[in-house]
Amino acid sequence: MNWISNYVRPKINSLFSRREVPENLWTKCPECGTMLFHRELAENLNVCTNCDHHMAFKPRERFKALFDGGIFTEIDVPQPIADPLQFRDQKKYPDRLKAAQKATGEKEAMLVAEGEIGRTPIVAAAQDFSFMGGSMGMYVGNAIIAAAERAVEMKRPLILFSAAGGARMQEGILSLMQMPRTTVAVRMLKEAGLPYIVVLTHPTTGGVTASYAMLGDVHIAEPNALICFAGPRVIEQTIREKLPEGFQRAEYLLDHGMLDRVTHRKNLRDELITITRMLLGLPPAIKGDLPSPEADAQEQAQEQAETGK
């Protein structure tokens, strides 16, 4: 990519960044209680317009906002064996899975895709907290391995958005084994010399934090995200004292040296573009929403036709 093709007129951008949202829906901000018009909230990347509280952002929505023109291609994740332990608690595990699939419309707790951000080809993976708390089981492990393998194959950076209550208990030891499995995936990227950037979103806890989420080349967190190994309640029970204000929140971790940056969601995309392009030794990109690469090419072709070149 050269300097010239990076030059995109900002006027078209807004046409492509509109996302389809149902009319007449309101959401109450869990932080400040403000009633937010659904469309307005979506336009604001699910960040409260009143208090800046960063609400959960579904992987599909996040990818639409992340990739140029909202265009991305999903990467297939090998389906693991169903219910490997034949786990039963008060419900059967397959029933819990089915319920989560019905409620979210997603297959599992992680989405992997490729596309361009600021005309920089990347692979991205995003964890879905609404799917059984984003919990890490065989599927999430397979997703991260698939993402790393694709990144290595295409020589692209991997950007991973973490969000999870921890391991998927219903997969027992096999969920725990996703810690080493995903670490192997991270090693693939590192040994191929490819950037691995982790965006830690609310909440990122347990075995997820203690594996791939804390092994990034760069750690960026969304404001006020809870990021921890042991949860605050467990710690309070253990040490029998009240924890300080903001304990284990993104800003607290930044202060304690565990993160590189805490970044507002509205600036995240630009920042990811800036960082990845520098790590890859590419020239600076044009900031802001970009149309899809295809639309860009079409427009250029049309322009060329009009000017008779």
């Binding site: 693991p80 064996i81 219910d83 490997p84 332990l85 034949q86 786990f87 039963r88 608690d89 008060q90 065989m138 492990g141 391995i145 391991a167 208990m169 997969e171 027992g172 030891i173 096999l174 969920s175 725990l176 084994m177 810690m179 080493p180 499995r181 670490t183 192997v184 991270v186 090693r187 347990g206 075995g207 934090t209 203690a210 594996s211 791939y212 989420a213 804390m214 092994l215 990021i227 921890c228 190994f229 042991a230 467990v234 710690i235 253990t238 040490i239 004292e241 924890l243 304990f247 284990q248 304690h256 040296g257 565990m258």
Partner: protein, 319 residues
């Protein structure tokens, strides 16, 4: 001798036998030996019966038995020239993790493990085997040292889990565990691990990610404690028996799942009944595991270790 709850009937019989013998010692005319021997046989049969078919929850209790040999016992009995190495060069020396240079059958290596302690004082000193970030960072440092000098690594796992404390979180418990697991997957020397008691969650993974993992017959390895799992999924910590069942945390289940490569038999009645025999068996297992790995090239070791984890779990319980 500490008896577990399910061993109560056994405690009664063994107690009676002991009482009889004590009486005989006090009164020379009494001949109780026949009667005491009968009780011994009864106790032995009961012990065999109890331990031949332990439920997963009972296995958890045995795995946590205070009289089981701990890391220090294995190191002292199995290795020569053990030279402890301390500190993470950053903050502190974590006593929940011990390790250093040692020789096994003359071969120099690095041994690292969780130490729980054996009485109130030492348990507090070792923080009940719950490591803080410094413990994992010490382990990383020792693994790195072993890697640079081509020494095999042996890890002994026995922890309820990483310590859930304020300072531990502030100093990056997650990052320390993640880096330790990463180190296990980066060293180019043979790495073998034995779960000698409790393999508690991420705190265990950080050491147990190995070329070969052996588990003692009544040890456990789990993503969460049965109590913790019960309180989340059953909303009642008292349902730990069901949780222990569902989690498949026994050595036997983990062997079926391909997570454990071998099971080391324990004496009848568990490791705590015959510590020497248990320690010896663990020593033989370590030698056996290392023998096969020492022949492999560094690159082959690394490749196969990673392949092992990439493939793990593909077939579930049918593996």
């Amino acid at each position: 001798m500490n008896y577990l709850e399910f061993e109560k009937p056994l405690a009664e019989i063994e107690g009676k036998a002991e009482e009889l013998r004590a009486l005989a010692r006090a009164n020379e005319e009494m001949d109780v030996e026949k009667e005491a021997e009968a009780l011994d046989r009864k106790a032995e049969a009961l012990l065999r019966d109890l331990y031949s078919n332990l439920s997963p929850w009972r296995k958890c209790q045995v795995a946590r038995h205070p009289d089981r040999p701990h890391c220090r016992d294995y190191i002292e009995a199995l290795f020569t020239e053990y030279t402890p190495l301390a500190g993470d060069r950053n903050f502190a020396d974590d006593h929940a993790v011990m390790g250093g240079l040692a020789r096994l059958d003359g071969i120099p290596l690095m041994v690292i493990g969780h130490e729980k302690g054996h009485d109130t004082k030492s348990r507090i000193e070792h923080n009940f085997g719950m490591a803080r970030p410094e413990g994992y960072r010490k382990a990383i440092r020792l693994m790195d040292l072993a890697d640079r000098f081509g020494l095999p690594i042996v890890t002994l796992v026995d922890t309820p889990g990483a310590y859930p404390g304020k300072g531990a979180e502030e100093r990056g418990q997650s990052e320390a565990i993640a880096r330790s697991t990463e180190k296990c997957l980066t060293v180019k020397v043979p790495l073998v691990s034995v779960i000698i008691g409790e393999g508690g969650s991420g705190g265990a993974v950080a050491f147990a990610t190995a070329d070969k993992l052996a588990m003692l017959e009544h040890s456990i390895y789990s993503v969460i404690s049965p109590e913790g799992c019960a309180s989340i999924l059953w909303k009642d910590a008292e349902r730990m028996r069901e949780a222990a069942e569902a989690l498949r945390l026994t050595a036997q289940d983990l062997h079926r799942l391909g997570v454990a490569d071998m099971i080391i038999s324990e004496p009848v009645g568990g490791a705590q009944r015959n510590r020497e025999a248990t320690i010896e068996a663990v020593g033989r297992a370590i030698e056996q595991m290392l023998k096969g790995l020492m022949k492999k090239s560094p690159d082959q070791l690394l490749k196969e270790r990673r392949q092992k984890y990439l493939r793990m779990g593909a077939r579930g319980l049918a593996a």
